[in-house]
Amino acid sequence: MIYIIQNFGKEFLYSDGYHITGLAMTLWLLVISCAIGFCIALPLAILRNARNPLLWGPVWLYTFVIRGTPLYVQLLIVYTGFYSLDFVRDHVVLADFFKQGLNCTLLAFGLNTGAYTTEIFAGAIRETSFGEVDAAKSLGMSRFTMYRRIIIPSALRRALPVYSNEVILMLHATTLAFTATVPDILKVANDAYSATYNPFASFSTAALIYLCISFVLIFGFRKAEQHFLAFLKP
């Protein structure tokens, strides 16, 4: 264990001097995929609650397909699948994009967490109390203003506890990136294992780092909940 920390500690935590690795890469994956997911989810959550089936239908299909299949399959489709298609390989920009493991991972992760986040936000929007909406209407707000000032801020606050869960699950899901040759914490652990044949020490070091990130995230979200949901306190 000490040998592994001495020899691989640097790679686990930040960099081996040339590339960012380990912790930095895992956090980068987490932040970017959650950002992509958030940007997808906000408009889709509003569409998901629309009355027109042509609007909510496609969004429902998207979340149904993504939430019904494992992330690993989605990653394989994006990473190995798209590049096997002729038109992708012949297209310069697309071929360049799908050749990079990191791009594929971020795309797959973003789309995946986007679907879950859409359902979380859509649920929160659906639960908005009609009093708030009535009050907004009686003040003569337009639909857009009503969403911007009343519904979205209130829904996002109420979605926070469930959303924090989704972010933790996303942290756990980033481990799959190592199957697409992205050098995250698990990839470093796997390298340490191949070099030392000591699986317990290698993988439990990675497990400890992930545990610490989880605890920091949980702590941060608890603070955020205390701040943003203070008005719900008894």
Partner: protein
């Protein structure tokens, strides 16, 4: 309809493996969850503390890391144990080797047991205390109280969480192909590599999973209705 280029049987066999793996893991984690929840609600602080450590660590660490950790370490530990037995008793020389399927069941069961523990803990607490006290005052033994009173009532509260966990387990079996199990994903990968149509075959694997999750959703809905018998719902 679907052109599987002769890989149909392999993909079907892989699907069967996936279903078997998820059902067995469900059984293991269900039992572990019941045990864990009882331990967590136990009055003995050492037992409840141990259960809390179990759920906190398992739920804080990614399942893939745990899977690789357990899969590679378990084999070494078993080898060490059998070697030790060889040394003290020279007569027997035996080996136990873990295949990916068994270790998949063990790891998935162990990991999701922690999630089931939390689900069952909440459900145990939702059953009114008076029910249990009444059962005990009838002279029922703890096992009988559990079987006749606690379990049927707590299942109703546990089912939504259980349904969720089942979906997660079903999707988590995809990871077991990473430690060498020929499940539906591995079969689809092989087919894709053999025919140079990776996209097509991976989509087939995705469809298989979509089919499985949709079916199990239906079954769980039926179960939910069964355990909710006797609960009056407001008619609006």
């Amino acid at each position: 309809m679907l052109d599987l280029a002769g890989y149909g049987p392999q993909i079907f066999a892989g699907t069967v493996t996936t279903v078997e793996l998820s059902l067995l893991s469900l059984a293991v984690s269900f039992l572990l969850g019941l045990l864990g929840a009882s331990a967590k609600l136990s009055k003995n602080r050492i037992i409840s503390g141990a259960a809390t450590v179990y759920t906190t660590i398992i739920r804080g660490v990614p399942d893939l890391v745990l899977m690789l950790l357990i899969f590679y370490s378990l084999q070494i530990w078993i080898n060490d144990a059998t070697d030790y037995l060889d040394n003290i008793q020279n007569s027997i020389d035996f080996e136990v080797s873990l295949d990916p399927f068994t270790s998949g069941v063990i790891t998935l069961g162990f990991i999701y047991g922690a999630y089931f523990t939390e689900t069952f803990r909440g459900a145990f607490l939702a059953v009114p205390r008076g029910q249990l006290e009444a059962a005990r005052s009838f002279g029922m033994r703890p096992m009988l109280v559990f079987r006749r009173i606690l379990f049927p009532q707590m299942m109703r509260y546990a089912l939504p969480g259980l349904a969720n966990n089942w979906q997660v387990i079903l999707k988590a079996t995809a990871l077991v192909s990473l430690i060498g199990l020929t499940d539906v994903i591995k079969a689809a990968q092989n087919a894709g590599e053999g025919t140079f149509r990776t996209f097509y075959f991976m989509s087939v694997a995705g469809l298989v999973y979509l089919f499985l999750t949709t079916i199990s959703n239906g079954v769980l809905l039926l179960l939910e209705r069964k355990y909710a018998v006797g609960v009056r719902k407001a008619v609006m």
